[in-house]
């Protein structure tokens, strides 16, 4: 088999992988609004999106030009060079998109593809120019530089236009409908339905169905030239239908709007972005076919690729089926969606992104500007706006299909309407807007206008948005450089380089798969820890106890590992423990948040009952801080290459560790199983531990006096001992709270029996 045929087989395999990773990333674009608002059960949303994708695939118009001639001029390349470029592009694309999916960051598949093509084409062109002794300036003849600049402009335009449009549209919609939109929807439902669906229909016609066989070129031309007529006619039609629906039936008109919007975006995605994933391999196959139809396949130039190629409908349908399967089963797709939905969430809660200096500056600056602007707005206007935008009307606890929605249906419909409008407008004005960028930035704009980014969450959300936007530029840089590197290696070293890079690709994918699995597991634990969906006091208390049990068990394991690592002076293990410590701190914060929720649920109960939980907060924080202090102290000590403990000290630390672990472990078992506390046993362990610590403190004084222990080591020793004692004291306190609660429940049960 010749190397090029082998490369084509690899390209086909990579096309399948690219479909999977590509859909995993792009699914967030069309699922975001419906999943976030919980418009329907998950399977209904998925069925609608799948149907949209399958329709989109059948409407897909030809092959994407950019793969064949958009970035480089094919007439200047021969088949082996093009196959090398396409291989480098596909390998990079699979790796890059998989990397973004693993971290749950949405990015543009078009931008990545364009920059990969650019990188690989530049690599091959440079080598060609250099080996033929030409001037490097001739490189510009090979590359379509204008297209590249347009794409970069697209990123910037998408960010600004979509964000501003989203924010303004949401602000005015909320002003009209308020957070308690049911009443206003009865009144203006027809207009709203007409407006949103006319925009979405226009979007379907412009983006989705433009390549459909049932629309003749004349019809498409008529639609593009009579945009306002189409918009007005559909507005009038839909307005009448929706006004009838909202006036005479109990149908919530926002639901069909959101589902149709989801269908439209899914369809547009399949119709336009599908070619991002299979366009390059198909271009490779057509290059191979063209070359082999001539007498000299290795030297003939590829002018033929400039001609339009009609895609095989069966092939497109097969790709569509793979995309649908990925949509249903990909866990990474859910991770990407959860990033978008999490950043746009109306409620406060656990934030995925940490604060950064830039986000703090931005938030402070924006708050400052708002404060200044607000001084110029008349008081009456401010009061009126505040009344219309009163968030108290938003139902934070309402559960839909087993989960609490992240935002309401009105916001979801605005998201879909504005995204469709911006993309349609951009397409008709020939602006290179990315669907991903637009949908993401619209979602962020609407959440800003809805005051979802309050002072409790703004810095984290802004930091998240900056990370995602940074990722878009990073996509372009990474796509270009990796593809350049891969292209050069494959062009110079041929088959060995291809095999090596394939192995590297497989290895990295396996690694990211494992990493993602681990992260999923962790986030699953965090999700389980959250009391988001618990609304009953007893259930909340029980869950809090269970979580505290898991927390103590984790502290026990982590401290055990930490002190063992101290004995072995194992810095790497200490670093691992520090990593776990971050997780423990996160858990502690979640449990504390849950205790607050329990307190909130207990607001009608006895104050003294509620007070117990505030004590629990203090104890949890003290345990978490004690754990962190021990880990950081020992890590710093051994990072600075100070001496380790002597045998006597190690033996004493081991005693303390064993007793503390026993205390933590048994308490955790009791909290987890909610079984009757053998309080005496735990108290005995605590007393034993106290005695040990007192005795060991005295021993340490003797060691200091005899010069057997240096200052830093003594400080560390006392630090560990004190923290261990403090952790055990607070554990006992937690146990006391549990014990009281247990007897309280027993009393409750007996009262009920009476």
């Amino acid at each position: 088999m010749d190397i090029y045929l082998f490369s084509l087989i690899i390209l086909t395999g990579l096309a399948l992988s690219d479909l999977v990773v590509g859909v995993s990333n792009d699914a967030a674009n069309f699922l975001n609004s419906s999943i976030g608002s919980r418009v329907a059960p998950r399977h209904i949303i998925m069925i609608v999106a799948s149907l949209g994708m399958l329709f989109g695939v059948t409407f897909s118009s030809g092959m994407m030009e950019v793969a064949r001639k958009g970035i480089f001029h094919p007439q200047l390349f021969v088949m082996p060079e093009l196959v090398t470029i396409f291989l480098a592009v596909m390998l990079t694309d699979v790796l890059l998109l998989d990397f973004f999916n693993t971290f749950g960051l949405p990015t543009s598949t078009t931008v990545s593809l364009v920059f990969e093509l650019l990188g690989a084409a530049v690599a091959v062109s440079i080598i060609k120019v250099y080996s033929s002794g030409q001037n490097l300036e001739t490189l510009l003849h090979y590359i379509n530089t204008a297209k590249v600049l347009m794409i970069i402009m697209g990123i910037l335009l998408s960010v600004v236009i979509a964000f501003v449009c989203g924010a303004l549209a949401q602000f005015f919609s909320r002003l009209v409908f308020t957070f308690d939109y049911a009443v206003c929807l009865k009144r203006y439902g027809g207009i709203w339905g007409g407006l949103t669906l006319s925009v979405i229909t226009y979007f379907i016609l412009i983006k989705g169905a433009k390549g459909a066989s049932f629309l003749s070129p004349d019809t498409v031309l008529w639609i593009t030239t009579h945009s306002w007529t189409v918009l007005f006619m559909s507005f009038a039609g839909f307005a009448v239908i929706f006004q009838i629906l909202t006036s005479f039936t109990r149908i919530n008109i926002l639901k069909p709007i959101i589902l149709i919007g989801t269908f439209a975006l899914a369809m547009a995605f399949a119709a336009n972005d599908l070619v991002n994933f299979i366009g390059v391999p198909l271009a490779g196959i057509s290059a191979y076919r063209v070359a082999h139809s001539t007498g000299s396949p290795l030297t003939v130039t590829m002018e033929a690729l400039r001609e339009p190629v009609q895609s095989n409908t069966l092939l497109l349908l097969l790709a569509g089926v793979i995309m649908v399967l990925t949509l249903w089963f990909s866990k990474k797709a859910r991770t990407v969606s959860s990033t978008e939905v999490g950043l746009a969430r109306q409620d406060e809660g656990i934030e995925r992104f940490g604060a950064s200096a830039l986000s703090r500056i931005l938030v402070r600056m924006v708050y400052g500007i708002f404060a200044i602007v607000s001084t110029y707005v008349p008081r009456a206007v401010k009061t009126r706006i505040a009344k219309r935008m009163d968030q108290n009307a938003y139902d934070h606890t309402r559960e839909k299909y087993g989960k609490t929605p992240s935002f309401d249906l009105l916001r979801a419909s605005v998201n879909l309407m504005v995204a469709s409008a911006v993309i349609s407008l951009g397409t008709s004005l020939k602006l290179p807007l990315s669907t991903t960028y637009v949908t993401f930035m619209v979602a962020m704009g609407t959440s800003l206008a809805d005051q979802a980014w309050g002072r409790e969450s703004a810095v984290y959300r802004v930091s998240g948005v900056l990370t995602v936007i940074g990722g878009w530029f990073f996509t372009a840089i990474l796509a270009f450089s990796i593809s350049l590197l891969f292209g050069s290696a494959m062009f110079i070293f041929k088959l060995p380089a291809i095999l090596l890079l394939l192995a590297l690709c497989a290895f990295l994918i396996v690694q990211t798969y494992r990493y993602h699995g681990k992260k999923e597991e962790e986030s699953g634990v965090v999700e389980n820890f959250s009391l988001k969906n618990v609304n009953k006091v007893e259930e909340a208390i029980q869950t809090t106890f269970q979580q505290t049990g898991i927390f103590l068990k984790e502290i026990s394991d982590s401290l055990g590992s930490c002190i063992e690592a101290v004995f072995l002076e194992d810095r790497q293990r200490l670093k691992d423990v520090r990593g776990e410590g971050e997780k423990i701190e996160k858990w502690s914060n979640i449990i504390v948040a849950n205790v607050f929720k329990t307190l909130f649920l207990l607001n009608k109960c006895d104050v003294s009952d509620a007070q117990k939980y505030s004590h629990a907060i203090r104890s949890l924080q003290a345990i978490s801080e004690g754990h962190r202090d021990i880990v950081l102290r020992v890590l710093e000590h051994f990072d600075n290459y100070h001496t380790g403990f002597n045998t006597e000290q190690k033996e004493e630390l081991r005693y303390v560790k064993t007793n503390l672990n026993r205390l933590l472990w048994n308490t955790s078992i009791m909290l987890l199983n909610r079984k009757k506390v053998d309080y005496d046993y735990i108290a005995n362990q605590f007393n034993k531990l106290k005695e040990f610590v007192d005795e060991f403190d005295k021993n340490q004084i003797l060691r200091i006096q005899s010069g057997a222990s240096k200052t830093r080591l003594s400080i560390l020793f006392y630090g560990i001992m004190d923290n261990c004692l403090e952790i055990s004291e607070h554990t006992i306190q937690l146990l006391n709270i549990f014990k009281d609660s247990f007897s309280l429940n027993e009393v409750d049960a007996s009262t009920k029996e009476d």
Binding site: R573, D678, Y681
Partner: protein, 234 residues
């Protein structure tokens, strides 16, 4: 050859082994309390502790049966099934010994432990419960080792095994001292027999924990590749 990639498709039996070890760890408080209760001659709660241990032992037995019965026939395990079952057997014996000890006490609940021997008995109990507690940590660390095959992780497991041996030696020493003291007391033969057997039962807990550690040591031993075993001369 060990290929980490294949680990993706293997269901690890170590999760269940750890669950089994944690049942043993869960017994510790009831065991310790039962001994203290027996010593203090206020054994009203003894039955409760015994019931708790029996309950946990029966749960551990279910886990053992699950491991034995549901280990996939064709899965690529990181260790041989033979070694795994031997390990499980030893780990299970730890729990059996705890139960046997309490059963032995229940046959002659009075007159308890003489005052002059109480401290030694408590020390012996203390020395055997640490190895029980270490078993679950050992399995957890071994699981991590079989996922990565890193030398660093192997050292951690070996360190725990070393500690198990140390505690077993300490328990042996305490058991021997205790036996000497019991015989020196020249009490009635039945009490002497009861206490001697009790000390032996308690000591056997550490023996089984150490045996489990040795089995684990065999499991984590580096397997030499046959290519390097080639010899020119027989």
């Amino acid at each position: 050859m060990r290929l980490p990639f294949f680990n993706l498709f293997i269901t690890s039996p170590f999760d269940e082994l750890q669950e089994h070890a944690e049942k043993a760890k869960e017994c510790v408080w009831a065991f310790q309390q039962a001994i203290e209760c027996f010593a203090a001659e206020r054994c009203k709660a003894f039955e409760e502790y015994l019931t708790e241990v029996v309950r946990l032992e029966s749960q551990a037995d279910s886990i053992k049966r699950r491991i034995r019965g549901h280990l996939p026939v064709n899965s690529r395990l990181p260790v041989s099934k033979f070694q795994l079952f031997l390990y499980l057997k030893e780990q299970d014996k730890v729990l059996d010994s705890v139960e046997d000890t309490l059963d032995w006490i229940s046959y002659r609940i009075m007159p308890g432990i003489p005052k002059e021997l109480q401290k030694d008995f408590f020390l012996l109990v203390d020395s055997v419960i640490e190895p029980i507690e270490d078993l679950s940590r050992m399995v957890a660390e071994a699981k991590k080792y079989f996922e990565t095959y890193s030398d660093r992780q192997r050292v951690i497991v070996k360190d725990i095994i070393r500690n198990l041996r140390k505690r077993e030696h300490e328990a042996d020493r305490l058991e021997a001292d205790l036996k000497k003291k019991i015989f020196a007391m020249e009490d009635d033969p039945i009490s002497t027999f009861h206490l001697i057997r009790l000390a032996e039962n308690i000591g056997s807990i550490a023996d089984h924990a150490e045996n489990a550690g040795d089995m684990m040591r065999a499991m984590i031993a580096r397997k030499k590749s046959s290519i390097f075993n080639f010899r020119f001369r027989e």
